[in-house]
Structures are given as C-alpha cells and as structure tokens.
Subunit: 223 residues, 4 copies
C-alpha cells in the first residue's frame, strides 16, 4: 500500500523547513539535503506532530545522488509523487529532473489517487531575471534553472503536470539573515511560511488554470 | 457602522461573476458594469444566498463615471475597501484608479478591520506581454494597463497595499466562447472559477510575500 | 519627379536634430514639431549645407494634424517615403501611424528607388520596459508605443517594411539636460549623434537581418 | 610592435566566416574552432586577400584550452585586443571569458591605439529568451550565456568595455541549412554577412551609446 507523497529538495532552516511543514500537513514528505543536520530535527518534529517524514542525504547537483534518493523514496513511499519542490541554492542535475518528471508525474493527474495535478516547483531569485555585475556565477545557474523549468512546463503540461517557477525577490527571513536589514521593519524581509503558502496554492491549482511563474517580494522591497 | 467590502469592476457572465461569487463569501461586493444586464441576476443570486451585493452601472473608461460609482459604494458600504479587481476588457480611467488607491487603500493594512492587505488586481492577457500583428488596438491598452499596475504596485506597496497583475493566457470558458476550441477537451480552456481562486489567493497573501505578477493558462495552452 | 525622403517626427534641439542631420546626408527630410521654433533654424541649416529640408508644424497626437502633414510632405516630396522616425516624448496618434505604414511603406522595398527597406523607428525609453512609482502617465504611453511598434513590426515585416523600437536608457546630452549629472564625466550621458548613428544603422539593415529592438545607454549608466 | 586585433571564437562556414572577413578588413584576426577544418581555408583566404589571420584549434568549453589560445594570440599579435566575438553553439568557459575581459579589455578605451571601445559580443538565439519543450539542453546554456553577458556588461561598461548580446532569431543561411525552408524565398533566412554587419556596427558604437542587446531576424520570420 502506498500513498501520495511530496519531495522537498534543498531543505534548510528557512524556506525548505516551511515547505516541509506545509506539505506535511497533507502528504508524507521526503526531505533532501546534503548535510543531515539540515533535516534531522525537522524530520523528528514532523513525525512527532502527526505527520510523516524521511530525510535523505543528497547532492542535488549529482544525477547519481538524486537517482539514489529517488530509489530510496520509492522503497519507502511507493511511486505516487504528488509534488516536488526544487529549493536548493546551487544547481540541480538537469537529467535527473527530466527523468523524475518523465517517470513519476506523467499522467498522474488522471489516476484516482491524485487530488491535485502533479507539481514541480523551482525556487528562483532576483538573479533569475536580472544578472548584476560580479554575480554571474549565481545568475547563470538561476537563468539556466528558469530555462529548464519553462521547457519542462511546456513539455509536461499537456500531460497534466504543473511546473512553476517562483522568483523570490528579496531577503528571506531566516536565521542566517538575522542581522540583515535589522534596522528595517519585518516587512522588509520575506516570511518563509508565506512562500510555503504560495507554493501550496500553486500545487492546488486546477489543471485548467496553471500558473507557470510568480514573483514574491516583501512590501518594502525596491524593484 | 460599516464593513470591509470588495469592488469587482467589469462584471459579465464569466470571470467577473466567478470573482463576485468568490469575494462575496467574505465581503459585501459592489459589481460594476456598463450594462445592468451584466450584474442584475448576479446581484440577486448573491443576496439570496446569504451574501450581500450591489450593482452599479459604470463606464470604467470614464473618470467621472468611476467617481460616481465610488461615491455610491461609499454611501452604501462606507470607506473600508478591502479589494478591487479591474477586470474589464477595455481601458480603465487611470486617474480614478490612482485616486481610488490613494484615498481608499493607503494605510488600510494597519487598521484593525483589515484582515488582509488592501488589494488591487488587474486582469491582463497574452496581449499584455506580446503584441501580435493587427492586434495593436487591444495590446496597446493591455501594455498600458500593465505599466499602470507596476507603477501603482511600486508606489503603494510601502504603504501596505498589494497590487497584482494577472496575465490570463488562454481562452476563458464562458458562454461567449462556448463554440471555441469545441473539439478540444475542457483542459484547453481556462475555468473562470479557477481564476477567482487565484485572485483570492493573491488577496490573502501576507504583506511579507506579495506576488505582483502571475500568469494563468490551461494545461493544453501552447505558449 | 520625386525622390525618396525621410520623416523625422518630433524634432527638437537634441536627438531630433541629430537624426535630421544624419538622414539629410542621404534623403530630403521632413521635420515635424508642434512649435516651428524647434525646426526653423535646423531647416535653414540643412538647406544651406547642401541638403534639403522642410518643416511642418504638427501635433503628433492628433490624427488630423498628422494627416495634414503627410499631405503636405507628399505635395512637396512625392510618395517615396524611405524612413520615418517617431521621436516625440508624448503619445502618437496610432491610427495615423498605421495608415502611414499601410500606404507609404508597403511593398516599397521591391521597387527600384528603394536602396534600403522602408523603415519606421520608434524612440522608447527606460519607461518602455520598467514602470516606476509615480511615473504611470509617462510609462503607460511608452509601454503602449512599444506594443504598437511590435504589432506593426509583425504585420509589415513580411511586406519588407522594417519597424524597430529603441529603448533609450539614460539622459541624452542636450541643452535642456545641461545641468543634469554635471559632476559626472561626459560618458554618463548619451550623445544624440550616436543615437542618430544607431538609427541609421537600423535603416540600412538588410531585409534578411532586421533588428526589431535595441537598447542604448551610456557606459556609466546603471541598469 | 603590435597592433589591435580581433578574436572570433567559434568559426565555421557561416556566421563565423562572415564575422572573420568583416573584422579582417580592419584588424588582424584570430580564429578559434575545435576543428582546424573550420578555419584553415578561411585563414588562407584572408591572408591572400591582404588581411591577416591565424587559426587556433580551441575547445571553447575548456578554460585551459582558451587560456592556451589567448597565450598563442598574444605571442603573435601582442596584447591589444579590440574585439572578441563568442559565436560557438555550445557553452563557453565562463572563467576564461571573465579573465579575458579583466586582462585584455579593461581601460583599453583610454589608450591611444583604441579607435573604438573594446567589444565583446555574444551570439545568442531564440532559445536565449524562450525555452521550448524538449529544448532544455540548448536553452539552459543560452539563458546562462545571456546572464553572463549581462553581468559582464554591467561590470565592465564603467571601464569602457562594450559587451553586447545578440538574439539571432531565425535560421541562418549557411551550407548546413541549405535544405531548410527551401520552398520559401531567401528572405526567410538570415544572411550571415548581415549579422557580421550588425556586429561591426555594435563594435563601432560610441561609449556614450552602447547597445547591450539586439535581436536579428529575417523579414519572413514569425515571432
């Protein structure tokens, strides 16, 4: 017996954790991060609070590492992937994402277990659409990820798979950014839980109204 | 005594009606259309089903007509506007929108009655970002509306007002388009209720995570 | 007997004058501005230096005024319009531009008098692609002009007419801006002659390599 | 004694050859391609017709290969690089481009030998701004190259270096595409010489009027 589950790839103390908690309200979740410190306590927290979570140490820039993670997820949860969120700051292995989409999501929306269309969401940044001086190492990866998400979106939408790209335009309020913008009111930073809310809303969209790109910024952000 | 209300400007048998029903679940609504035929039965339906609605014949391309409508709304509902959706296919009077934003929304999010940040949503189209041959009469208006929404968004966001622009990319499934794409499955057209759902999700976003632009298309749309 | 000519609509002491001088090296030019002060001395200068120029007082936002100007140009120069540059800061009458394109340019590239494809160039600005706070009166017009240029470009390109839109991103170095950025080196402002050079290069492009949009900014511009 | 030279990276029988011939009218040129077959006869042609050319077998996706090529160029031509065009279809080594820009171009515009600002031009494609289904391997690279060009443009413009990105939107008329669109008139394909002309015009732009992005398409292209 298996049940639909969600993958959060790129889990840390900020957005990834918010996403994990949000999707865990509905699905068992598989949390991927290179360093187990990034998911261990979160897995425990979710399992204790009535949800279900597993953590898998994964290098998301490596096809073989993602492939191993997928195999592990299937052995535990089966093959009904309802949603996958790609949330790491570094590059993802393009090939594995394509394979994941091909194998796991195609046609999923037709079958009875799927309440919502299978969903892939990519976390982009300001640098996904603007490439500033001295930022090329970051922005080339982000532009490329946006290209990947658009190509997959066009390929898989007719099969009922929903692919979306989020341009996160601003500083996310997480432990690491605690000292940033500290003289500004809270509305200068993005709340990680609000990103999770937006992603959940994307996941629950009808196949007759897919959003393929959104931007998200705090009210005090200049743009 | 007054209560927060919502304005739907540009009500017809499709998206406008869906928006009216959706926002009427939470707010009294004021429905604007030039032709009363476009709102009369809808107003009745909402009032009968436990909501509250008024309809006002308005030419949204005329500043004085919008000003009269706003005055009428205030006399009936007061001055706590929670959300306004600009959904007409033709041009809106820029000046009135600016005045509406200035007077009605500014600072609203700080006061106790406002559960969500005051929200203005503009309905755009494919032609808001692509201007095809022979389409300049339509696309010049849509490009201009997008410019307006972006300018207002930047001006009023720091005051807590949420302005968003939706690129509706596809045929909406309404009575007028019944014969369009009739050999295609339902997933070739956008469901009006799903647009209303997306707009509601925009309205309820935290001021720490405003989305200023989304696209919406059915899964079978080419883009 | 008639010869191919060029129209510069929106002539003043800056870019328009540079454009007039540049195109006058090859074509008789018709210079349009509302106020004759903006073209009188320039017309004299061009005629004295071996070129040919006429000036016509025109309100480019009025269809009838543009129509009168076109009639006047035809009576003096005939009907072989080689290039038209729309360079005014305010809005142009859309209808007249469409008619001008339809009547004057269509098929022109096929006939013997035309050395280069008939060319329409629109002068845009930063505000053509970014709509800042409090700038909506300007940016809505600029977004709309960009939409117009793109629509015409797609309609008339197959007929051999070249339509281009230039995003002028920065302060142009003209008498009116003399005091702006005065503590910066000259490379902080755009040289009007260099814009004219770029437009001429657009005009001389092969019909097998049309550029439909360029940006132009000085080396010290932030973008 | 040394003289200013140009580098064409990615030379083949089409655009690269046109670029080489165009820039060889003014500069000694260094032609880079992995396979010497792609430059041998062209080098001979240019040298026989009064120009000066060398060819260097280079893998432009490899930093060390580019570094070797640069060393070879310097030993033959010196260190006055006037222009570099990145024209290969595959990915370029980002690090080497950054180093080339840092070392060769910075400040060049101030010195007496430089008639025009030092120029880097990147050849993009439709896939630089639109990522179609099944095209992600190509488009991710093209999006990334555009990000790189924009970042370098912003970094080096204040130092007088001109970086531009060209969106080549259409089929280039080269031997390899001879059978494509064969039922269409010649205006359905881009003429390689016309691309070279456009790039030369970019190179000769004033530092007070840099174009950072152009699109180029044949008059019969749908877009």
């Amino acid at each position: 017996m298996s049940t639909a589950y969600a993958i959060i790839a790129g889990v840390g103390p900020g957005t990834g954790a918010s996403l994990a908690r949000k999707f865990a309200l509905t699905y068992p979740v598989a949390l991927l991060a290179r360093n187990p410190d990034n998911y261990t306590s979160l897995v425990e927290e979710i399992n204790k609070s009535g949800g279900k979570a597993i953590g898998i140490s994964t290098d998301v820039s490596s096809s073989s590492s993602i492939d191993s993670a997928i195999a592990e997820i299937k052995s535990q949860y089966g093959d009904k992937c309802a949603a996958a969120v790609f949330n790491a700051s570094g590059p993802f292995a393009r090939k594995s994402i394509l394979e994941l989409t091909e194998k796991e999501f195609t046609g999923g929306y037709e079958v009875s277990w799927a309440k919502y269309p299978g969903t892939l969401i990519f976390t982009g940044a300001t640098a996904s659409v603007k490439s500033n001086a001295l930022m090329s190492a970051f922005s080339t990866g982000k532009y490329a990820m946006r290209a990947l998400s658009q190509s997959i979106a066009r390929e898989f939408a007719p099969k009922g798979v929903h692919v979306a790209h989020a341009i996160i335009d601003g500083v996310i309020d997480i432990p690491r950014t605690k000292e940033w913008l500290k003289d500004m009111p809270p509305e200068a930073k993005i709340e990680a839980d609000a990103i999770a809310e937006a992603y959940w809303n994307l996941h629950t969209q009808s196949k007759r109204a897919f959003t393929n790109e959104i931007d998200i910024r705090p009210m005090l952000e200049k743009w």
